[in-house]
């Protein structure tokens, strides 16, 4: 089949051709950027935190009427309140282990500082997010130790919330270890926190432990984390609790009830509930990402449907308009297949032209998003996928009207109207 008559025919429908091509181009630009956004958000959501997330929950509360101050007596008093709570939690039948902790990965409350391998450094080697915990810290979090050992009970200390951070030992994430000691094994080496002068020995390295926030300000150090064996004593306290397998709901209910019973002078956070499962913490942290992925998927689907319907509408109109010409072609010996193929090829040409323009638009839109929203460059295969999708959409949309066209009987050619 030669393309010449087809091009001549298209020239007589400039407006319709331009409209379909424009629609395909815009659809392609939006769809492939949307798929890219969906892909990158899903990838982000699915990153493992490094915790054993099943059966893990956090209790967050504030002591009321507790003393305030930084003196030793106050610190000891606050520490005893915290230890009392922990023993209450550990004695519950559905609780496997519990540890005091300042935050959890994704919990959106972050204590960050600087880490160096030399004392008194003005320029830190890495930004680090701390997790301060007590007894059973590793066990409760369920993080995987790849080298070194767990903290011993004797290494666990406590201090006033605002006092200087000078631990003698710490367990750090593999990411932080690689950053600080790229050429050596970090195990057993020294680390200096917050520009301090007292060394902390790295006694263990965990495979992976995510920072306590997914906000963009912490992107650069999202995996640089350190576990510090220190209970922080303040007017508020948080506990990470691991329930016995399958007993999570019961343990959460029992935990807050038992804490209230032991000491009612407290205010529970998390909307007054006091306990929040890690699944909910994760859902909250990634709410925007998940929502974005859902929104983009919906927009993609509706967009493809609208564009497809638009092609059906315009092609149907053309088929109606060329009713007689189709009859003439059929009378002159064109087979049904030829008519079908004519409309399909025509659509392929228009959609192909639109797709070419769409590639440019897609890249332009991506550059704009990169500039405004710190997005990444779109990989080529997303654009190619988008091109495939719109071409396929065009073919699917054109099939019904083209099929109807192919059914025009040759006798139409002999009728005058």
């Amino acid at each position: 089949m030669t393309l010449h008559p087809m091009l001549a025919a298209l020239r007589r429908h400039k407006a319709g051709v331009v409209l379909i091509a424009l629609q395909i181009a815009l659809t392609l630009a939006i769809v492939c950027n949307a798929i890219f956004i969906i892909g990158s958000r899903i990838e982000r959501i699915q990153r493992p935190s490094g915790l054993d997330e099943q059966n893990l929950f956090m209790v967050s509360q504030q002591f009321v009427g507790a003393p305030t101050g930084d003196d030793e007596a106050t610190t000891d008093k606050l520490d005893s309140l915290q230890l009392a709570d922990l023993s209450t939690l550990r004695n519950l039948p559905d609780v496997q282990s519990a540890t005091p902790i300042n935050s959890l990965p994704l919990a959106n409350s972050t204590w960050s500082g600087g880490a160096s391998i030399k004392p008194d450094e003005k320029n830190e080697a890495a930004r680090v997010v701390y997790f301060f915990g007590g007894k059973d810290l590793l066990k409760t979090l369920g993080v995987r130790l790849v080298s070194g050992r767990d903290f011993t009970d004797a290494e666990i200390g406590h201090r006033a919330f605002r006092a200087a951070n000078k631990p003698t030992v710490a367990i750090i994430s593999q990411a932080l270890a690689d950053k600080l000691y790229p050429a050596h094994d970090a195990l057993g080496k020294a680390i200096y926190f917050d520009g301090g002068t007292s060394p902390t020995t790295i006694i263990g390295i965990v495979e992976r432990l995510q920072a306590s926030t997914v906000d963009s300000w912490a992107n650069a150090f999202a995996w640089n984390t350190a576990l510090i064996p220190t209970r922080l004593d303040a007017g508020y306290a948080r506990y990470a609790v691991r329930a016995k397998p399958g007993r999570m709901d019961e343990a959460m209910k029992a935990a807050t009830a038992a804490l209230y019973k032991a000491n009612p002078m407290r205010v529970f956070f998390f909307d007054g509930k006091g306990a929040r499962g890690f699944d909910e913490i994760r859902a909250n942290a990634y709410r925007a990402d998940r929502g974005m992925a859902i929104l983009m998927s919906m927009i993609c689907l509706i967009l493809l449907a609208v564009t497809g319907a638009g092609i059906v509408g315009l092609t149907s109109f053309w088929v109606g308009q060329r009713h007689k010409q189709i009859g003439v072609r059929r009378a002159l010996g064109a087979r049904k297949r030829d008519i079908l193929r004519y409309f399909q090829t025509e659509n392929l040409m228009i959609a192909g032209g639109g797709a070419l323009a769409g590639i440019a638009l897609a890249v332009g839109l991506n550059l704009w998003l990169m500039h405004r929203f710190e997005m990444d460059r779109i990989p080529v295969w997303y654009v190619l996928l988008g091109v495939g999708v719109v071409l396929l959409l065009g073919q699917l949309a054109v099939f019904a009207p083209a099929h109807r066209a192919s059914n025009v009987p040759p006798v139409v050619a002999t009728r005058s109207v």
């Binding site: 319709g16 629609q23 520009g195 301090g196 929502g291 929104l295 509408g313 315009l314």
Partner: protein
């Protein structure tokens, strides 16, 4: 004539129900997507204090220096030392210092359990500067600041919880083990975004429960209940050491009414930073900022990126829907070329054809708008999947959004109809009559 054309439009739309439904759906979805995302965008990017946003300024002084500051920008709050220096200098007509504090209301009356409260430690100018409305009483005056009084202003909501909504001025309240005297009950006041504290909040939070005297909070050594940001080695333990550290936690605001006052205050800030440099406290040249409410919200990126991206994508989506509508209207109108030819031959002017077909397009637009409105109502209820609850609940379907949705749908469809109508009006009567 309008009624007749409307009748013709309805008949024509009924003739190809599939095509009509397609157009109405395209407009409806396009408008709804745009309106839903716009309702959120409007909520988060709105001016929280339109009357005074150009007169309220947030001074910043770099106490961290080029090595530790945020890529050359001073910290987003002040150290205690700088904050107190600004307060003492009193270089603006009105000024306030504030920070977020957390306290608990002790059990009492019918409540057995304590109540966790969020509030702000502020100076007396806070209330007149930010136009805080009062239900009962008033804020404390400058003498309250000086006397370091245990005065407190509570929210209407807290007044309801503690005093059953009664006139509570003069009553006493136990917060965290200390007695406070209620001097005022604020009316509902929770500007969104919370421009005055973008340091501790992202701009969207529940209404604060109380406001207490800044000096009183210092006397009680109340640590900031919100954000606190420090640089370098942390060596402090006591409150005194903490207040002398480089940690920033106090947000200052000043009210400046004329460009002259602004220039003068800017000069004052630079001068102050230069003095600190001479005194040896800063080892860097003065690095100060003075941003007004709008500039400050821009700098703090109050509008979540999700809101901008989704609005942009929705507008693109709407554009495609319009292109789609142009195509479909073109097909629809041109199919009636014969009918147009007859009307033209019988004496209808081009203007008549224009009127008829634009009315038809307007009808489609109206139907699309109504569908869009339904979808918008549905979507506004469901924006919680995309935004944090504090933001999601700001999106509302109010009167102006309803009007806007319908207006946008009709105007957009009529605009989209211009090209197809122009083509319809150009139909040559002779041609059409001859061929049929």
């Amino acid at each position: 004539m309008f009624g007749y054309y409307l009748d013709l439009a309805l008949r024509s739309l009924k003739r190809n129900p599939a095509l009509t439904v397609l157009m109405v759906m395209a407009i409806g979805f396009g408008v709804a997507a745009s309106m839903i995302t716009y309702s959120v965008f409007r909520a988060v990017s709105g001016n929280p204090i339109p009357d005074k946003s150009a007169q309220l300024f947030m001074p910043q002084i770099d106490a961290w220096g080029p090595q530790q500051n945020d890529k050359g920008e001073p910290a987003e709050a002040l150290t205690y030392v700088d904050a107190m220096a600004l307060l003492r200098a009193h270089a603006a007509k009105r000024q306030t210092l504030l920070y977020l504090v957390q306290l608990s209301a002790m059990p009492g009356g019918s409540r057995e359990l304590p109540l966790g409260l969020n509030g702000y430690a502020v100076t007396s100018d806070f209330f007149p500067m930010f136009d805080v409305p009062f239900r009962y009483g008033n804020g404390w005056g400058a003498q309250g600041d000086e006397a370091r009084a245990s005065d407190v202003v509570i929210s209407a909501e807290l007044n309801r919880k503690l005093f059953a909504g009664a006139y509570s001025v003069g009553r006493t309240l136990d917060l965290g083990g200390h007695d406070y005297r209620v001097v005022g009950v604020a009316g509902h006041w929770n500007p969104q975004p919370r421009f005055y504290d973008l340091f501790s909040t992202s701009g969207f939070a529940d209404e604060p429960d109380f406001y207490m005297v800044f000096n009183r909070a210092l006397d009680l050594q109340m640590r900031p209940g919100g954000r606190n940001s420090c640089r370098g080695a942390l060596t402090f333990t006591t409150w005194e050491e903490y207040t002398q550290s480089n940690c920033v936690w106090v947000t200052p605001w000043v009210e400046l009414n004329t460009p002259d006052e602004v220039a003068r205050y800017r000069g004052f800030l630079t001068h102050y930073a230069a003095d600190q440099q001479h005194a040896g406290r800063f080892s860097w040249a003065p690095n100060v900022r003075l941003r007004d409410v709008t500039q400050w919200m821009d700098y703090e990126h109050v509008v979540p990126p999700e809101s901008r991206i989704s609005l942009a994508v929705a507008l693109g989506f709407f554009l495609i829907c319009l292109v789609n509508t142009i195509g479909l209207l073109l097909a629809k109108f041109m199919r009636r070329a014969g009918e147009i030819g007859v009307r033209r031959a019988l004496g209808a002017s081009r203007r008549e054809i224009y009127t008829q077909y634009l009315i038809e397009a307007g009808t489609v637009g109206l139907a699309g708008g109504v569908l869009g409105l339904l979808l918008t109502a549905l979507g506004v209820a469901g924006v919680g999947i995309l935004f944090q609850p504090h933001i999601a609940k700001l999106a509302r379907l109010d009167f102006s959004l309803v009007g806007l949705t319908l207006a946008v749908a009709i105007v957009a469809t009529v605009l989209a109809a211009f090209y197809p109508t122009w083509r319809a009006a150009r139909v040559q009567p002779a041609w059409q009559l001859k061929s049929s």
